[in-house]
Point group: C2
């Protein structure tokens, strides 16, 4: 219930006067086609008073995965690239890393180490460097990294968002959806970028959590970050954390990988109107076509029904990147 | 960033025109005195552009404990009374409860069992009955209970809120604070009452969580409630869950017991303006004076400084209950 009367009246008026043309125009970065039509028709149906599927603004919630859904995850998860860069930046204070895996491999091979150490090794490094940085220092370094050039060199990391997806976030927000980011990235990193990249409050971030130890002695309460994850927010854990934090199945759930399918499937099985979107990386020319092999596996596990859309970046995205 | 332009302009105008008189008038359920003045002066200082302590609306967050802070917790936690009532209601389906503790004691002695089974036994019973009820059934029963008469008989359970505290919540919301309930009560129970009692979205609830098991098989994702708590949201756990969910120290933290002191102390140690309030149950005539004995212990552990206020229900509350 975040609207005040004047805004609510203005919103109602603009809905009356402009609903369909505005909705269609709002997704100008999307190619005309069945998916764009399905999205705008769904949003119109849940926002039109008197419609069978009408939802009050208080009941409109959309959740988005981040990596590969809202921004690029290639050549590696952006947060992992950041964490590896910090291993290098902090190596002088850690002579022991020269002989200690996975740090020694990272220092020798940089991003090339990922094939060897895997995501598991990357998380060991990530949690080790995060546990050493207080909040202010972490935020300063993360912001500097986000404003630095992405590995592919054409834009800064913070600008590797997909224009049609940022447009979709804005379109849903304009239709009074509350937006959450539900990502495998860590809360700390996501909170540095959510407002700048998507206009999403740092409080509407549901990510992986670093383990912490809270000690209260009298009025001295200290929170110590530990070099490990409390949980990795992926697969079933996304469902669990959505239910704990939001408390109900979101109206719209958007992801791009098998790790997003549980939260999509769970939402679609709920009562009332729900829409699930799975973004497919199938555009070899403009981005890359890396999930083609997984397509059949995903299709087999994906929910059936006309409220689940497979979105093709090649066919449905009029543009990929911010201009 | 939840304000639209028209609301922001209206807000700015009303601040310019009405700031001090409106602020003072807004807490009409509070007695004039140092605490009321400190609260309104604090809010004025963080909401007045150009003030040394000015915070943008996006950075104004207030968290409130529930039991004993926003509504009564006597003669027992309202949620515990609800849970025990459900043991009775479901006993016919559980012949084994007749001989199994703590159920047998609850069935024999009702609320009187609490002295014997303690909070620990009550939680065993609560989690057992909660795990059996699906969301719809749980919500129906909880709503019926909330609308039924409180044990003291004068009003329904949902109306056992403290008028000055509900007024404070509304006053902060009108000053663009985002409000969270941070309670030892369970998420499920709090979400049934937060909007009705306080105008707080069920998504802005941080409570104790029932343990769950999420199983995904293909597109069939099931969430099974287990008869135990994942965590009890009290003491240091309140700090942990505030940092996970909100991600930063709230501007204003309000509680009433030693279980609230860690979150108050932690917030007050942060940079920037913070205010902590501890509600003292010292009004034997209009409510009860049950925390008198603990006052010294709390005072010893409580944070020092002029941004921590001990609020006396006897002296600071012009009224206690809703009219």
């Amino acid at each position: 219930m975040k609207l005040k009367a004047s805004t609510a009246i203005a919103g109602a008026l603009s809905t009356l006067l402009l609903a369909t043309p505005l909705s269609a125009e709002a997704l100008s970065q999307w190619s005309d086609g069945a998916n764009k039509t399905a999205i705008t028709e769904f949003v119109t149906s849940v926002t039109t008073e008197g419609s069978e599927h009408y939802l009050t603004a208080a009941n409109r919630v959309a959740v988005f995965d981040n990596d590969g859904t809202l921004w690029t995850e290639k050549p590696a998860y952006t947060e992992v690239v950041f964490a590896l860069s910090q291993v290098k930046a902090m190596a002088a204070d850690h002579p022991e890393w020269q002989t200690q895996e996975p740090f020694s491999i990272i220092l020798e091979k940089g991003l090339g180490s990922l094939r060897e150490i895997g995501l598991r090794g990357a998380i060991v490094a990530l949690t080790a460097v995060y546990a050493e940085l207080d909040e202010e220092e972490f935020n300063t370094r993360a912001k500097a990294f986000l404003n630095s050039k992405h590995l592919k060199g054409e834009r800064s990391n913070i600008d590797t968002t997909y224009a049609p997806m940022v447009e979709l976030v804005n379109y849903l927000r304009a239709n009074d959806f509350e937006i959450y980011i539900v990502s495998g990235g860590t809360n700390g990193f996501l909170r540095v970028l959510s407002e700048t990249a998507y206009g999403v409050s740092p409080r509407n971030v549901i990510g992986s959590a670093l383990a912490t130890e809270v000690v209260a002695e009298g009025d001295n309460v200290t929170v110590k970050k530990l070099p490990k994850l409390a949980y990795m927010n992926n697969d079933e854990t996304k469902v669990l954390n959505i239910l704990r934090t939001i408390g109900s199945r979101p109206t719209i759930v958007v992801g791009n990988s098998d790790g997003d399918l549980p939260m999509i499937s769970h939402a679609l099985k709920g009562d009332g109107p729900h829409l699930g979107l799975l973004i497919q990386h199938d555009d070899e020319t403009r981005e890359s076509a890396y999930d083609r092999g997984a397509k059949e596996a995903i299709a087999a596990a994906a929910p059936e029904g006309d409220n689940f859309l497979l979105v093709s970046m090649m066919k449905d995205f009029a543009s990929i990147w911010k201009p």
